[in-house]
């Protein structure tokens, strides 16, 4: 690969690419810290959860279950189901992390979140991106998450609710990254099917299994359509 392996360049590229995630994590992390503090967790305990779990929605759910007096096992099981969607993201990233040794892969796995996945998977298509930069991006996001949740744990809601539209930083990032993933008509169809199914499933079933269900269904339909299109083409179908 012709990408620079210079440590400073790698660090700079990874850190600067992470800014939309850091911006988006700030209000969510602060809000989480404030909530966790209100349920009786110390800043140290909050930081430990962010370090060991590093998963926003699961942490919110865990804290609300804790304050409701739930036991450890139901909280852990809920965390598991909420975070199962990372199976799909990890599988998809594996294609771009060939020949990496188990140690680096294990470190990489720690940093897989919705946000880092979305950014890195788009970046991996560029010549200038590699696993080192992706790893730096993951850990920059990780530090931003831990720091903002701990600061929130000291009772600091420094960013007034809704200021500067900061709550929309992550949705905007996801929308742009979705657009960048669309590389042909079939991708549009898969996106529309996934979005439609996700809305329907999310209205029918509680929890967030709708993400996995809609993604698996839409990607499977995509594969069948691609092969069906190919067959039609091979059998002399209209151009």
């Amino acid at each position: 690969m012709s990408v620079s392996h210079n440590l400073r360049t790698v660090l700079k590229d990874g850190i600067t690419a992470a800014w939309p995630i850091c911006l988006g994590y700030a209000p969510i992390g602060l809000a989480f810290g404030v909530l966790a503090q209100k349920t009786g967790l110390s800043p140290g305990e909050i930081g430990l959860m962010s370090l060991l779990v590093f998963a926003g929605s699961a942490q919110f759910i865990a804290v609300s279950m804790l304050s409701g007096g739930a036991a450890a096992i139901p909280i852990i099981l809920t965390t598991f189901t909420v975070n199962l969607r990372h199976l799909l993201m990890s599988s998809s990233l594996a294609v771009h992390l060939q020949r990496l040794n188990a140690g680096w892969l294990s470190l990489y796995a720690y940093g897989i979140t919705d946000e880092s996945f979305a950014l890195n998977i788009a970046r991996f298509r560029e010549e200038t991106w590699d696993w080192r930069r992706a790893l730096v991006l993951n850990h920059t996001a990780n530090l931003a998450w831990i720091a903002s949740t701990v600061i929130g744990g000291y009772g600091g809601q420094f960013i007034p609710a809704g200021a500067f539209g900061i709550d929309y930083a992550l949705p905007a990032m996801f929308i742009c990254l979705l657009v960048l993933q669309i590389r042909g008509g079939l991708y549009v169809v898969v996106a529309v099917i996934a979005g439609f199914l996700a809305v329907v499933f999310s209205l029918l079933f509680p929890g967030n299994a709708y993400i996995v269900a809609a993604t698996v269904a839409a990607a499977t339909i995509g594969v069948f359509m691609r092969n069906w299109k190919k067959e039609v083409g091979e059998n002399g179908g209209a151009s």
């Binding site: 599988s91 020949r99 788009a122 990032m173 898969v190 996106a191 999310s202």
Partner: protein, 107 residues
């Protein structure tokens, strides 16, 4: 720090880490069949769409459909902007600005 809490976050950490780790270890060092490669190629677009759409058209703890919310109204021009410019930085800044302005009208 109580031992109970330490065990809780350790358990949460393990069950979160495993789904992130297993596919990476299993899939990254072998030749994948063509159908699986095609399938994985559709995962990003599908999962992003499945994350975004319910978040902008549903609300509430027991989710219900609500299409009259600033997040959806803002998402339409933001989508068009992203489509035209393909700029991540621009999309995030324009999105935040529009959402901020929209918030002023939705009180």
């Amino acid at each position: 720090m109580k031992a109970d809490y330490l065990l809780l976050v350790l358990g949460m950490g393990i069950v979160t880490y495993l789904p992130r780790w297993v596919p990476l270890i299993l899939l990254s060092r072998r030749q994948l069949p063509e159908w699986l490669k095609q399938w994985l190629d559709f995962v990003p677009v599908a999962v992003l769409s499945a994350l975004i759409l319910p978040a902008v058209v549903t609300t509430g703890d027991s989710r219900h459909l609500d299409v009259f919310q600033p997040a959806l109204l803002v998402s339409i021009p933001v989508f068009i902007f992203a489509w035209k410019t393909r700029s991540l930085a621009g999309t995030v800044i324009v999105g935040m600005a529009l959402f901020w302005i929209a918030g002023k009208f939705f009180h």
